[in-house]
């Protein structure tokens, strides 16, 4: 809803609970990073109040989160499509990483 110029310097955030039965494992991590890479925004995530934010486009980093089931995933993004990116990633996690339906 915001103009590109406004959104540019702005950080969009979102939070979502990880309901995946075995936590952030290989397949969820691959899906999350694949989706993140579709956006130009810089996207970072962290799990359950960890100190560090990590790059949501790095599968190695996302796996290293070791996020367990029921952890709260925070997502923040900045850049032109940040808002759409956060919305899409929140949806993906909330819907428990559905098989791509394209």
């Amino acid at each position: 809803m915001s103009e590109t110029s406004e959104a540019n310097g702005q950080v969009i955030t979102g939070t979502v609970r990880l309901i995946h039965a075995v936590g952030m494992h290989a397949r969820p991590a691959v899906k999350l990073t694949k989706l993140a890479k579709k956006f130009r925004a810089q996207i970072s995530i962290r799990a359950s109040d960890a100190a560090d934010w990590i790059n949501a486009k790095s599968v190695a980093k996302v796996m290293a989160l070791r996020a367990a089931r029921d952890s709260i995933i925070e997502i923040k993004a900045s850049g032109e499509d940040a808002e759409a990116a956060v919305a899409a990633l929140v949806d993906l996690v909330a819907a428990d990483f559905p098989e791509a339906g394209q």
Binding site: H20, G23, H25, A26, T33, K57, S58, A60, K61, R66
Partner: protein, 541 residues
């Protein structure tokens, strides 16, 4: 473990990863010996690694597209890593600082592998073999070698320390064969691939001899026999034949997608008495575990199993289920299941006595140990917990309070714990008649006890067998009420008594609105077949 070294052929026992039988040439596959390569200038090294990564990516993509399905999904993780700049950047930085490409690559991967290997979670540990796989493939490419030189004949029993998924996919399994791993894990990606292909696979065999001509691999008994005697072969063939016969009918049915009736999916789960019941070859086809009994933990040789033993049992089942729901019932002692030191002696009528949740609430010393183990296991999979023999909502709430308290205390101790979904067994008529008053996440109808209480017939008294009819309209009425309430309120209802596995009862249960049945693994095929027949034959009007 060496079973009997005294006979001619040596035999080993491991853990089942995939059920199947293989009799064929024994082939030992081990990591290729490092053949040196000439190290170039940093620039050339960087180019060499880039090229190797691209080439490895292509090889993996080709394997994935040839194999499809599950295999493709498994290999996606490796493809994603090859495309992860955050992961690769430090490797290239090292190369630019003068480290040879192969050393920079291996040390980065070794670090990751060690990290995964030290994870407390078996799933994560199993991922280390995907990384070993990737490490090896890129190294082989970097060294200019094509993959694996070892020729593997079809139908071979392949033995390795561990085998990565992509190497598994390069082997021709079209004539069967088997995989015997010295280490390995039943939750690894390779195990999933082997199960999907019906390839026998046994893991954690321990030290296995390097030299043998032929081998027998029995995925069911988890045994590997090398250079077997005629007698060993004969026994193996007999076991195989028994397995084949019992599976022949069931397999066709079980492999079909979930049963459905009236356009609705019928979920079929299994009941288990102990962890080993999961070794039944049909259990893998279930949609989950509808009832895991825990009384076996009360009667260990040393008495009540401690928290760690219990947690391990729950954990093993959750890992086996791979995300499918697992419903564990808290101790259901008393009634016809007396436990010395736990249940009350001298009850005039134990079936109407202090049993199930009643007993657990009366003995928090024993109950708390179980709740602690369950709360810890709950962080590891799709766990649901149900209380047996519940009469009033207050009992459920008392159990919940105790459970929440246990979770709070564990967390205060710094131990990861979660409160799982809580449900109740519906077996006391009073509960079935006031079902809407229970704030349960799910209901599981225990039709054996429900029928005995509704018909006032002791189910251990043979003289009443005829009168104790689970199809009595009063029993069906209570089952129907529960199912209908569940449907209205959006609360899952399943049925885990003997009725669920009885083809005579299934039409009535489906008509009552029950859409989830939990049966013994050995009944799974028959139940699926029955439902299939009903849906095709128009079992409803």
């Amino acid at each position: 473990m060496n079973l009997h070294a005294d006979i001619a052929g040596s035999a080993y026992r491991g853990k089942t990863a995939s059920i199947g039988f293989a009799h064929g040439p024994f082939v030992r596959v081990d990591a290729a010996v490092d053949c040196g390569r000439t190290v170039g200038a940093p620039n050339d090294e960087e180019t060499a690694l880039r090229a190797a990564l691209v080439s490895a990516g292509r090889q993996i993509a080709a394997l994935a597209s040839a194999a499809g399905g599950e295999a493709a999904l498994i290999l996606e993780f490796q493809v994603a890593l090859l495309d992860d700049e955050d992961f690769l950047a430090p490797i290239f930085a090292k190369i630019r600082a003068g480290t040879p490409a192969d050393a920079a690559w291996t040390s980065a991967l070794d670090e990751q592998i060690a990290d995964y290997n030290s994870a407390p979670d078996e799933y994560l540990r199993a991922r280390s073999s995907d990384l070993t796989d990737l490490r090896g493939r890129v190294m082989r490419t970097l060294h200019g070698g094509r993959s694996q030189a070892v020729e593997i004949p079809r139908g071979a029993v392949v033995c390795a320390d561990d085998l990565p998924p992509s190497q598994f996919l390069e082997i021709d399994w079209s004539r069967g064969g088997g995989l015997a791993l010295v280490r390995g894990s039943p939750t690894s990606h390779v195990a999933m691939l082997a199960r999907a292909r019906g390839i026998a696979m046994v893991v954690q065999l321990g030290a296995v001899s390097d030299s043998a001509k032929t081998a027998l691999l029995d995925g069911e008994a988890a045994t590997l026999e090398l250079d077997p005697t005629a007698e060993q072969v004969g026994n193996f063939e007999r076991r195989h034949e028994i397995h084949r016969k019992s599976r022949a009918a069931a397999r066709a049915i079980l492999r079909r997608p979930a049963a459905s009736w009236d356009g609705e999916k019928i979920r079929l789960l299994v009941n288990i008495q102990r962890v080993e019941d999961l070794n039944h070859s049909d259990a893998q086809y279930a949609d989950g575990i509808g009832l895991m009994r825990t009384e076996f933990l009360l009667t260990e040789q040393a008495g009540l199993a401690d928290e760690e033993t219990q947690r391990l049992a729950y954990d093993t089942v959750l890992i086996w289920a791979r995300g499918r729901p697992v419903t564990i019932r808290t101790f259901d002692a008393g009634g016809d299941k007396p436990v010395p030191g736990f249940t009350c002696d001298n009850e005039a009528n134990p079936f109407l006595g202090v049993r199930g949740l009643r007993l657990c609430l009366a003995r928090p010393d024993i109950f708390t140990v179980q709740l602690r183990a369950l709360a810890r296991a709950a962080t590891r999979g799709n766990l649901k917990v149900m209380f047996p023999m519940v009469t009033t909502p207050e009992e459920l709430e008392a159990g919940r309070e105790l459970f929440a308290d246990v979770v709070g205390r564990l967390r205060a101790e710094g131990i990861p714990a979660a409160l799982p979904e809580l449900g109740i067994m519906v077996e006391v008529p009073a509960a079935a008649l006031t079902i809407e008053q229970f704030a349960a996440s799910f209901f599981s109808i225990g039709s054996n006890d429900l029928a005995q209480y509704v018909t006032a017939c002791d189910r251990s008294n043979g003289a009443l067998a005829k009168l104790l009819d689970p199809l009595h309209p009063a029993v069906l009425e209570l089952i129907g009420r529960t199912a209908q309430f569940g449907k209205r309120a959006g609360v899952n209802v399943s049925l885990c008594g003997d009725m669920a596995g009885d083809p005579r009862c299934i039409p009535a249960l489906l008509s009552c609105g029950v859409r989830e049945l939990s049966v013994n693994p050995s009944a799974l095929a028959q139940v699926k077949q029955t439902i299939d027949g009903l849906s095709r034959g128009g079992g409803r009007d």
